[in-house]
Amino acid sequence: MQLMVENLHVAYDRIRALHGVTFGIAEGEIVCIIGANGAGKSTTLRAISRMVPALPGSRMDFEGRNLLDYPPEKVVSQLGVSHVPEGRRLFGNLTVMENLKLATFARKDRPAIKRDLDLVFSIFPRLAERESQPAGTLSGGEQQMVAVGRAYMTGRRMMLLDEPSMGLAPLMMLSMFEALKEINQAGTTILLVEQNARLALKFARRGYVIENGRIVIEGDSGALLNDPGVKKAYLGG
């Protein structure tokens, strides 16, 4: 397992958000976590990125290293785990190129940066056209491209995606997931959380269902798509 999460507990102030979440991802996999609003999907990703503190007793290992020893910026820069946050959160006052360049702030490997930038532009040719435009002026789909491209530029071992389909037109969603497949084929493990369960399960190989801060069902995507409980709760019958 590239990423092992065991018994992850998180609380916001006094309110428990996660009650011992356990799951794992192997290198090169595409895995999704589905669940309702407020079930704990985003919190799980934020805990992995160390943006929210994990409570004592939680364990998170990435490639054999204890994630709890790393501050957020080092999870990105030293371990290569990138995070596309919910709502994209681009730097709207910076140009597309500046957003991508800022993502390489901590990197010193110039030739690799150039290669990664070329890959981002080959997956999202639109971004090359929009290069010098402020990111805040782009359409929703283009902004999601910048968010994914930017995450790829920060670190390429694993990418965490929080609701990448949110706010996108159906066609745009499909091409976004095609792009994520390309990024996965280039060697990046992908963990995404989605409310759009059908789309996520079609894209991912395996999935977890989270309810009230606990993983309740796990399995291959095919099995989950046919699971009567999952069908009823998340796939609209």
């Binding site: 934020r46 990125s49 943006m51 501050p71 957020p72 910026e73 080092k74 990105v76 820069s77 990138s82 995070h83 946050p85 709502g87 959160r89 730097f91 709207g92 006052n93 910076l94 500046e98 957003n99 360049k101 800022l102 993502a103 702030f105 901590a106 990197r107 930017r150 995450a151 920060t154 670190g155």
Partner: protein, 309 residues
Amino acid sequence: MSLEFLLQNVINALQWGSFYALIALGYSMVYSILMLFNFTHGDIFMTGTYIGLGVATGLLALSGAMGIVLPGWLLLAMTIVIAMFLTSFVGVAVERVGYRPLRDAPRASAAITGLMIGIMLEYGNLAILGTQRLLFPPIIETVTYNIFGVFVTNKKIVIVAVALSLMLALHLFIQKTRWGMAMRAMSFDFQVVPLMGVSINLIAPMTFAIGSALAAAGGILYALAYPVLDPFMGILLGWKSFVAAILGGRGSILGAALAGFLLGFIEVFVPIVFPSTFRDLIAYSIILLILTFRPYGFFGQAHSTQLRL
């Protein structure tokens, strides 16, 4: 009002505007990235001026001991550069000791801490250097030029020129370097910055360092014109520059610079019309009036509370 008289006062206004603008920039830069008003900044300006005094005195003694006479402009340039460098550490220390532990605390706690550190700097200075006012050494001699009936001193030219050059340098730094880019990003959404692999604990001290260095430069320029220093000199200038930062628009770098100069103009031109004892009363009434109609200042935006990541 004759044209010569008008130009004479424009030059005075530019000189005062240079002081206010250089100090106001520090308030705005820190606010733009941390949404925090650094109320120690006026006293960092004072500390920077004293550091400048120490550097200038030291350089004079050193060159005297070595038997060389440094030209005044070189002495001034060296004093400004060295004092800016040294004062930046004061800013870094204030951030590290005062503000960083309070980053998630209510803003009022940080404001009070800032004021307290300011008082410590004032009375620390008093305790170490004593109650006697110190005189900034006259490192350049005053030369007065008569340009078509307008009297301009070389010091005023130097003050305005150095201030404008530093502002231009700051602008280029913010727009063209990756550090400046990180600052701009942080001013837009500081919570996402760590996800870019950039530590907030790198950008925040750097911003304090630059703001403090600019305040030190402002202090030395101020001392060229008004060489009698006292430990409380940063209070009034600090607060006035803070007003300029607010007037420019919270967090707006350009706004702070422009409002600093506007403040200089208002303060110089009000006493031409009104008795000079009314100067600040009327000047700040005008600013209050402007803020009544533009509560966010010239370039400020109504901030919505940022989303939690």
